[in-house]
């Protein structure tokens, strides 16, 4: 369609749309996205809160086939369910140990931030683990840990230790899975820091060098403050990633041995959709608790972003 430039008619003769164009247009553009997002993301959150108050096996509708039990699901979870506390405790382990991906990523980024020949290829290869799916990462590490033929036991056997069945040991299984998760997450943090290091102000570095700063002091006082945006994003994605951990657990141990490597996201799935029966209400209650934990972090992220927005519009 060709753009025809017609003389603009006086206001009164213009259509309602033409007069209110600037106020109406954003809403027209928002409608399809908003509807999809509301139907699949916003409403389900409220529905899950509601389902958590029922005893429901998922058949029929909530109104006709479920018993309203009030807060009984939560009461049972918090007072009589040891598996819930195991999962919660494992979530905490994930949260804390997963954060190791941030300094590890920074370390590799510093190691690779050079301009020698072929460095681009090395950077991509180091990033590799993040691109492949967690399912494949999980399989790879399951074989890596295998007590009989795994590379891990090959190495510790070479040093002179007895073979360890990492994933078969209730005290070690969670740490084994976390280590597998840290691998791709470190790659992600590395790329964030590599991009951040690119934009570090060279004049400040020169000035600091003239003042005699180098090595760790330089890193701590000059470089890290300039990498704050990268650190913030690395923190956000690592925290969210740790609380979302599901794929690796499902593939590597399926929650075992004896439920020792469950986390809340996995336990919820197991309660709602496993062969042990469809306890949708109970599952929803677990999901609500996980959601509330995550909201603490999401709230903090949003608050930080809000501060940035305010600073930007000033």
């Amino acid at each position: 369609m060709a753009i025809t430039t017609q003389p603009i008619p006086p206001l009164a003769k213009q259509s309602w749309y033409r007069r209110n164009e600037i106020a109406v247009t954003p809403w027209l553009f928002l409608v399809p996205g908003l509807i999809m997002f509301a139907v699949y993301v916003i409403f389900p959150i409220f529905q899950s809160f509601r389902i958590s108050l029922y005893k429901w096996d998922g058949l029929g509708t909530l109104a006709t086939h479920a018993d309203y039990v009030g807060l009984a699901n939560f009461e049972k979870l918090l007072t009589r369910d040891r598996a819930f506390y195991t999962s919660l405790w494992n979530n905490l382990k994930w949260l804390i140990f997963y954060l190791a991906a941030i300094p590890a990523g920074l370390f590799i980024a510093l190691f690779l931030n050079q301009t020698v020949r072929g460095i681009r290829l090395y950077k991509s290869l180091f990033f590799f683990p993040f691109v492949i799916s967690q399912i494949v990462v999980g399989l790879v590490f399951t074989w890596f840990y295998d007590p009989q033929y795994g590379l891990f036991n090959g190495i510790i056997g070479f040093i002179g230790f007895e073979p360890i069945n990492v994933l078969g040991d209730p005290t070690l299984s969670t740490y084994g899975i976390i280590a597998a998760g840290i691998w791709p997450q470190t790659a992600y943090c590395m790329i964030l820091y590599l991009t951040g290091l690119n934009s570090v102000d060279p004049e400040q570095i020169e000035a600091a060098r003239l003042d005699g700063a180098k090595g760790l002091r330089m890193l701590w006082h000059v470089i890290l403050p300039q990498l704050r945006p990268a650190t913030f994003i690395a923190f956000v994605v690592t925290v969210i990633g740790s609380l979302r951990s599901f794929d690796l657990i499902s593939i590597m141990t399926n929650g075992g041995p004896f439920g020792s490597s469950r986390v809340l996201s996995f336990y919820m799935f197991e309660k709602s959709l496993s062969e042990y029966g469809f306890k949708m209400g109970y599952g929803a209650a677990i999901a609500v608790i996980l959601f509330l934990i995550m909201m603490v972090f999401i709230g903090y992220f949003l608050w930080r972003m809000y501060q940035d927005e305010k600073a930007a519009s000033r």
């Binding site: 430039t5 699949y40 290869l125 492949i132 090959g154 990268a230 599901f246």
Partner: protein, 281 residues
């Protein structure tokens, strides 16, 4: 540049660094290389316990042919039919929402923007039961369409964050100048803003492709069986079929992981621009 450029240091240190790079890379990728090595071994190597020695023969073609004559190609096609429509849908929707939130000032703008961001971070489990019911009610359970619709909706959150920030950084004078000319708002979107968004569209497409290809949770919640399941979910049934045949399971894993890897190597620049959310320039 930090750390100090290696060219400015001792010759010995330079050679040391050059030698260290491949060693570090091999160690970093060791678990993956082990699987690649498994995938070209013959079956007999596993029964005689030759896991880490030189393969007694190279069965690359045979092992991979087994993968391609199993149900694996079905799953891979499913993955493509799920991933590509999702990329198109989510990018299209977020071009529009990003334009609305990035260009116009109206009440509730920031609120809607933050709602998209918050929704993008929620745990999947809080959506699981209602979304599964909704999909069942629509008759889309165990279909690719059901999975695609959900993925589009959920990814719109992340994509809106990305697009809005990108559009916000465009020079606003362009839009003002167009308005002075009396150009309709939708034409401003179509003829002025959209062409400038090409790099953002490329970055997001690559990123969403990888995210969706690698999705496992929603695949097992919303689908089952060969006719709809993507390769991430299919690989578990593939492994069940070839239980303890590690050479085939390894080959299968490598095939399943390949498309996003190729995507990454072909579109590296865009991929990295996407990952940093445009926030770290």
């Amino acid at each position: 540049m930090f750390p100090k450029p290696i060219e400015k240091s001792h010759r010995a240190w330079q050679i040391g660094y050059q030698a260290l790079l491949p060693i570090a890379m091999l160690l970093w990728l060791a678990p993956l290389l082990a699987v690649a090595l498994f995938s070209i071994r013959p079956d007999s190597d596993f029964s005689i316990g030759n896991y880490w020695g030189w393969p007694t023969s190279f069965e690359m073609i045979e092992n991979y042919m087994m993968v391609f004559t199993s149900s694996m190609p079905r799953y891979i096609m499913n993955s493509f039919f799920i991933t590509i429509p999702t990329v198109i849908g989510a990018v299209a929707l977020s071009c529009m929402t990003g334009f609305a939130l990035g260009v116009y000032k109206f009440r509730g703008n920031l609120l809607i923007f933050f709602m998209f961001i918050a929704g993008n971070f929620v745990p999947f489990q809080i959506l699981m039961v209602p979304v599964r019911d909704l999909t069942l009610d629509m008759g889309l359970y165990n279909t690719k369409t059901g999975l695609v619709l959900f993925h589009i909706a959920f990814q719109t959150g992340f994509c809106t964050l990305f697009m809005r920030n990108f559009i916000k950084a465009l020079p606003y004078e362009l839009i003002e100048a167009a308005r002075v000319e009396g150009i309709a708002e939708w034409r401003i979107f179509w003829f002025i803003v959209l062409p400038l968004m090409k790099p953002a569209i490329a970055a997001l497409s690559v990123l969403i492709f990888t995210f969706i290809w690698n999705d496992y949770f929603w695949a097992i919640v919303l689908t089952q069986g060969e006719n709809a399941q993507p390769v991430t979910a299919g690989i578990t049934s593939f492994n069940a079929q070839f239980r303890a045949m590690y050479h085939l399971m390894s080959a299968g894993s490598i095939v399943a992981a390949l498309p996003p890897v190729l995507m990454f190597f072909l579109m590296q620049k865009h991929f990295i621009a996407g990952l940093t959310l445009g926030a770290v320039k």
